[in-house]
Amino acid sequence: MSLQALTYVVVGLTFALYIGIAFWSRAHNTGDFYIAGKGVSPIANGMATAADWMSAASFISMAGLIAFLGYDGSVYLMGWTGGYVLLALLLAPYLRKFGKFTVPEFIAERYYSRTARIVAVICLIFISFTYVAGQMRGVGIVFSRFLEVEVTVGLIIGMGVVFVYAVLGGMKGITYTQVAQYCVLIFAYTVPAVFIAIQITGNPIPQLAFGSEITGTGTSLLDKLDDIVTSLGFNQYTSGSKSRIDVFCITMALMVGTAGLPHVIVRFFTVPKVRDARLSAGYALFFIAILYTTAPAVGSMARYNLINTIQPGEVGAVDGNLRYEQRPDWFRTWEQTGLVIFDDRNGDGRVQYYDDSNPDFAGQAAEYGWQGNELVVDRDIMVLANPEIAGLPDWVIALVAAGGIAAALSTAAGLLLVISAAVSHDLIKGIFVPDISETNELRAGRVAAAFAILIAGYLGFDPPGWVAQVVAFAFGLAAASLFPVILLGIFSKRVNREGAIAGMLTGLLFTYGYIEYFKGLFLKWAGAPWGDNVADQWLFGISPEGIGVVGMCLNFAVAVAVSARTSPPPERIQHMVEHIRVPRQLDSEWIDAKDPPR
């Protein structure tokens, strides 16, 4: 069977599995469609949360970025896991105790204001749209490779599939479907990693293998990698090129953003108990960590294999480089998608791959007779191409495709549900048309989701960055807008309506403006980006990916300062905060004593 046919079979089988489970569990409980996780063990709930959370950015893009960034890729690893600590410690148990269903609902009640609710919905829509945009590019890449079409065609097909799956199907919210998706994607991620780890080091555990010795040599993989990448003019793999403040800020923005992401937070609204909220964040992170600790191993091994393929002989020797005529199959098929591009600049019929932007290496390269880098490999294809580069069997390659689709679909579906709930439930029903019929509410939600897919598709054609980078912008926006006011809403009794609204608007506008100015997001048609995206133009040397941290600090400062100059929240709100802080339901006797607002 050809690879393409095999891919159809494997992807088809996994889809049949999800749909089958959806039907099976739907027949057993129609009532609690939205309330995922009730009566489900914390372990299953943790897997479902992990599937919801791990997106195309985690599955497809991240290891590829790490492969090319080396140490600098650590920002994604620490950033997207450390946020769960904040979530479990600072938000989840309290939001569970509060017991409403959406983030804007919490903000509306805690800050006793419809305006605050509208502002929260606007923040949420900005965050979710940016996030979905990142996903769509990932979906497009998967489909373009396995249907062997241009990436734009793949994107259109992907948009159609997401629309049918998420908007018409309404499969989200069924915990066991997501448990199945988690199993498919983690299996698809670790199997090729184990194979490649055995090939290169003989150690089957990827987490240990990338610190082990390469079979038959005395050097460890990372040392060898440092050696060969520097011999081609690239940065050392184990040390970064980003400035320290930038690494610090991006990591912080991703962590805080994780804790402020609406589609992650809502999962903790629905667990049965406060202590389950603490625990299920732990289980979710455990299941996420399996992928996240494998990813850096995949990244380093992919980089090693890629360079070995392109540069099989000695660097600088006439016959040291791969002849284009003898290029392997994966090279040919990826060329069709336009995501691998070869340009024979020095006309020698061989592929030279090196860092031609490194001035220190330019002289050396000229000596070798190289006239510029000839190979462009899209970073987002590395995870998908990795098993092909390593020459693994076809079924493994097909499995990776199924895993990538599972990751992208589960997250896209979760986000689209959040967007449609925000528009139909919070905005239309909650504010503008309170007496809307249920049918119309549902219809409005679907229109909103379809609209989101269109915008995401438009951004996917001309993305402002790699999948994981675009997704990082969404986290920056979440960190700067929602996280501070949720946190202050729990840990301060003094922050009031005026402070929260001013804080959210400041954080959102500042961060969004900065990203738009340097990278261009939704306003590309109007000429964005306007600024040069280089380090010496940046504020404090912080890149657009990390700027959410500054937005977050502004949000905190403005919220506290404005609150201090306006009247404190009414007494009932201060009592509400007291209630949220304690797991057990309190009787009124507990609260009667008048505390000074803090």
Binding site: L77, L221, R244, M252, D595
Partner: protein, 85 residues
């Protein structure tokens, strides 16, 4: 008494939070970013220690930290008699 107990519970919670967040900061930002170069001179197997913390160690510690917090917090809930059911 109720009010004092409630405030004592909240103080115990904040103390635990402060300890956990310190560990969280040290194992990621300190070991993985700020001190990565000095730590990289130490080698554990084929890894440089700072690089290992940034790409592996911090993640393991995060998982352990959440379970530790959940366990301690359940204990504090019971101690102050504010636990559920």
């Amino acid at each position: 008494m109720h009010r004092d107990n409630r405030l004592a519970y909240w103080r115990a919670n904040l103390r635990l939070l402060a300890i956990c967040l310190c560990i969280w900061f040290v194992c990621s930002y300190a070991f993985g970013i700020l001190l990565v170069e000095p730590l990289n001179t130490i080698r554990v197997g084929g890894f440089q220690l700072g690089f290992w913390f940034a790409q592996q160690g911090s993640i393991y510690l995060f998982v352990a930290l959440i379970f530790f917090y959940a366990w301690r917090m359940n204990h504090i809930d019971k101690e102050h008699d504010v636990h559920e059911d």
